[in-house]
């Protein structure tokens, strides 16, 4: 089974949201994570993404993505305390290396590294949520009306990724079936297979480009793309996700401007974690979760009406 999250049609509110809105909803945790250092805000975003994934029925896909994102986050968390010379609270008195200087590890650098790792985790999980719940065809259709050539590249890339994944599995199997496999070493084997996969990818790309040509894709450059499906009106579900996206962004900006949930890593750790700060971070998570809660309430309400 592929480690990369892939879109499967679903009936969850996020699956049914119009693709542009759903994409922005999935992108907003990334924006917050890249703009703010506060661990409270990052934690709230992570909780919001995980909640959204579970309510969308893609928790297993998020978990598979986490198995790659967590080691990467730990790596990032470990690099910062070694590389950074900032902070005053020394927790490990490291050696002094000529030319490179002192390798003391400070509590501040360690915590800041952990926050950088948390940021990586939020971005990774938000990307997984996006891949698993937003229909790429719909999104590409939207993009084609704005930037046809970029959309063409994206179309090929999204289709090639699973194809190359299957090619890699087949190449690996064929390698093991050779009468005399050329290299037993894992690293060398990986290099040989990667080279073969790259050669195959070129052939695949050429074949797919030829298929696009004969389907008349190049006509687009001379004509405006048609709209095969009728324009759908905005639903309450769409409005809910759009409002949640704006709400999360607005709240994050307000928190930053007001200094609520403030965080200063250097020279000494300082984290505002009073009731107002916790309430502010909680609001971010609540805003992410709200479209699902609203839907649940509406569904229950409809059931009651039916009864």
């Amino acid at each position: 089974m592929s480690a990369l999250p892939t879109y499967r049609p679903g009936t969850s509110p996020l699956h049914r949201a119009r693709p542009g809105v759903a994409a922005l909803y999935c992108a907003v945790p990334t924006a917050v994570a890249l703009l703010f250092d506060s661990p409270l805000a990052l934690g709230a975003m992570l909780a919001g993404v995980v909640w959204a994934g579970m309510r969308s029925g893609v928790g297993d896909q998020l978990w598979r993505a986490a198995r790659f994102a967590i080691p990467l986050a730990v790596l990032v968390a470990l690099v910062n305390p070694i590389a950074s010379r900032r902070g005053l609270t020394v927790i490990w008195d490291g050696p002094t290396v000529p030319l490179f200087g002192n390798f003391d590890v400070t509590l501040e650098a360690f915590v800041y590294g952990a926050i950088a790792g948390l940021r990586v985790l939020v971005v990774g999980m938000a990307a997984a949520l996006f891949s698993a719940t937003v229909d790429p065809d719909e999104l590409l259709r939207l993009a084609r009306r704005i930037a046809p050539r970029s959309a063409l590249t994206a179309s090929l890339a999204t289709r090639l990724v699973p194809l190359l994944g299957r090619d890699a599995d087949r190449l690996s199997e064929a390698y093991a079936l050779r009468a005399a496999p050329p290299a037993a070493n894992g690293l060398r084997r990986g290099a040989v297979l990667t080279r073969a996969l790259a050669a195959g990818a070129l052939e695949r790309s050429v074949d797919m480009a030829a298929a696009l040509e004969v389907r008349g894709y190049s006509i687009r450059s001379r004509r405006r793309a048609g709209r095969v499906r009728a324009r759908e009106p905005w639903s309450v579900n769409d409005a809910g996700f759009a409002a949640a996206t704006l709400c999360v962004l607005g709240l994050a900006v307000a928190l930053e401007l007001s200094g609520v949930a403030g965080f200063e890593p250097y020279p000494l750790l300082h984290l505002d974690a009073g009731p107002a700060d916790l309430l502010g971070a909680g609001s971010l998570a609540f805003a992410m979760a709200a479209p699902f809660g609203l839907r649940h309430h509406r569904a229950s309400h409809l059931d009651e009406e039916t009864e």
């Binding site: 049609p9 298929a211 004969v214 793309a225 709209r227 009728a230």
Partner: protein, 539 residues
């Protein structure tokens, strides 16, 4: 006279960097409503002609062109694939590389969007095209979850949705089982009759398409060697290119019966009209002595992690014996590839036993998966490499890039990579040699060569098993056939018994003669028919 859709005048084309032309001085007309079968050996120029007709040659591939080729009144030198797509719909061999979007509906909508089509007519076109091709239920499926047959139908639907006047098809049945292949040809004929679209179809399995065709073209070494009706083709092929003749036509020719048939029905009618016709005398089936067991699969279960949540194998049991050649038959998705991969080791069964008396060598479906180097000789162990290439008749390409080889040469090289030092080029042969769809893209001569090679390997003590959709190849290769359906062995017996008397898993000769004779190849069929007096045969 109906409209001229394709017109070639002294058309020649040479791929970049190649000394010989791929098409040489071709003169050809295709008119609206014609169903044209394009026959010829591998590498003869069939695919190049189709690529020229859709504009990929020369606009996509480059190269040198001489003469003229007009499609829908457009000169292919001045109009590229985008322009010609207004007239043509094209389907290539490999469906995986020509399905671009993630859902079937989006795949069908893409060509319409590209042409600026919209609104209700576009929605209707998608729906009607999907229904016509029997993929209405697949419209909302993700293309990554489709089987090979479903993908091929989706690619065909994407080519048809714009209602092209000329449909160009390059071996569209090569990955389909006999049932799906026959259905597809029937469907193309129905569309051709109902919409008036012309069809230009390149295909190796001539016998499958000949009854549907109005006209046959043969390309031989880049030149148009024949252009005529199916009946004229049958006569021409047995005399000038027996490798292209259908099994029924060869059988009639060998038995001295005329006219040569272009379909099973016509062949049966001819035989029924002969004096003294009756049930042909049955051939004897020699009993096969089983000396030593090479492989035993007992009640094997397996379920793939991806795809449909049903077991690929459901308690399948099979025994193979040294010295025998077995054909493994079944529809797409029946579990053939899974069974071979479990026998050879890449997959482990969820339940059941696998016992092998030694090595199990497996050649998987795509020869290109075995190519890791830039020279053929570097793919093989140095000690036995040249000997293996010589034994397989491809030592002349030892210095070439494996990816530049023809389809048949690629298959031979992949076989060398799997068996070098294990029966090919020296060494002890493995207990079992398993091959998954080894004849894809091969002409009849190459298939006959492969069948002979595999029988030789079996005679050296291996058990040979080949999963195949090609019943004619199965008849040439196998002593025994195993039919798999829904993950279970549903029939296991002598090839003569399994390949005769059925509708789909029967050779053309067996369908002509009926199951009683036991004849499954043209030679056997001629032997069954030959005892009749010469005067009758001449009649």
């Amino acid at each position: 006279m109906s409209d001229l859709l394709l017109s070639a005048r002294q058309y020649s084309y040479t791929y970049p960097g190649r000394p010989e032309p791929a098409l040489a001085a071709v003169d050809l007309d295709v008119r609206e409503g014609e169903f044209v079968l394009l026959a010829g050996d591998s590498g003869s120029g069939k695919s190049t002609l189709l690529r020229a007709a859709c504009g990929l040659v020369p606009h996509f591939h480059g190269g040198e062109v001489a003469g003229t080729l007009e499609v829908g009144g457009m000169d292919t030198r001045e109009n590229g694939p985008g322009d010609l797509a207004a007239v043509t719909g094209t389907v290539f061999q490999d469906p995986e590389s020509q399905v671009i979007m993630n859902s079937v509906r989006a795949e069908l909508e893409l060509p319409l969007e590209s042409r600026g089509a919209g609104g209700a007519s576009a929605g209707r076109a998608v729906e009607e095209c999907a229904l016509a091709l029997g993929i209405g239920d697949l419209l909302d499926r993700q293309t990554a979850t489709l089987s090979g047959g479903e993908l091929q139908r989706t690619a065909l639907a994407a080519a048809l949705v714009t209602q092209p006047r000329l449909l160009l098809l390059d071996e569209p049945t090569s990955q389909l089982d006999p049932v799906a292949g026959d259905e597809l040809i029937g469907l193309l004929r129905r569309l051709n009759e109902q919409t008036g679209s012309a069809v230009l179809l390149a295909e190796h399995r001539v016998e499958r398409c000949l009854p549907a065709a109005d006209r046959v073209l043969v390309i031989d070494r880049a030149r148009l060697a024949f252009d005529g009706t199916p009946a004229e083709f049958a006569e021409w092929a047995v005399e000038h290119a027996p490798r292209l003749a259908t099994p029924a036509a060869r059988m009639f020719s060998l038995a001295g019966i005329r006219p040569l048939p272009v379909s099973v029905k016509q062949a049966r009618d001819t035989l029924a009209g002969r004096e003294g016709s009756g049930a042909p005398s049955p051939l004897e089936t020699a009993p096969v002595a089983h000396a030593e067991r090479a492989l035993r699969l007992a009640r094997v279960w397996f379920e793939h992690e991806e795809g449909p949540r049903r077991p690929a194998l459901r308690g399948a049991s099979l025994e193979l014996w040294r010295g025998e050649a077995v054909a493994l038959l079944g529809r797409n998705g029946a579990g053939k590839s899974t069974l071979l991969r479990i026998a050879a080791g890449p997959l482990k069964p969820a339940r059941g036993q696998v016992e092998a008396a030694g090595d199990v060598a497996l050649l998987t479906q795509t020869p290109g998966d075995y190519f890791l180097n830039e020279r053929v000789i570097d793919e093989l162990p140095p000690a036995v490499g040249m000997a293996a290439l010589a034994e397989l008749g491809i030592d002349h390409v030892a210095g070439a890039d494996p990816r530049d080889l023809s389809g048949g040469e690629r298959q031979r090289l992949a076989l060398a990579i799997v068996l070098a030092g294990r029966g090919i080029g020296g060494g002890e042969p493995p207990a079992v040699i398993a091959l998954d769809e080894p004849t894809r893209g091969m002409g009849r001569d190459q298939k006959a060569w492969l069948a002979r090679l595999l029988r030789t390997l079996a005679s050296r003590g291996s058990a040979v098993i080949a999963a195949t959709h090609d019943v004619e190849f199965a008849a040439e290769l196998a002593d025994r056939c195993v039919l798999l359906a829904r993950g279970q062995v549903v029939a296991d017996g002598p090839a003569r018994e399994i390949l005769s008397g059925g509708l789909y898993f029967a050779t053309e000769v067996a369908r002509v003669l009926g199951g009683e004779s036991g004849a499954i190849t043209a030679d056997e069929g001629a032997r069954v028919l030959a005892p009749r007096p010469a005067s009758m045969a001449a009649a």
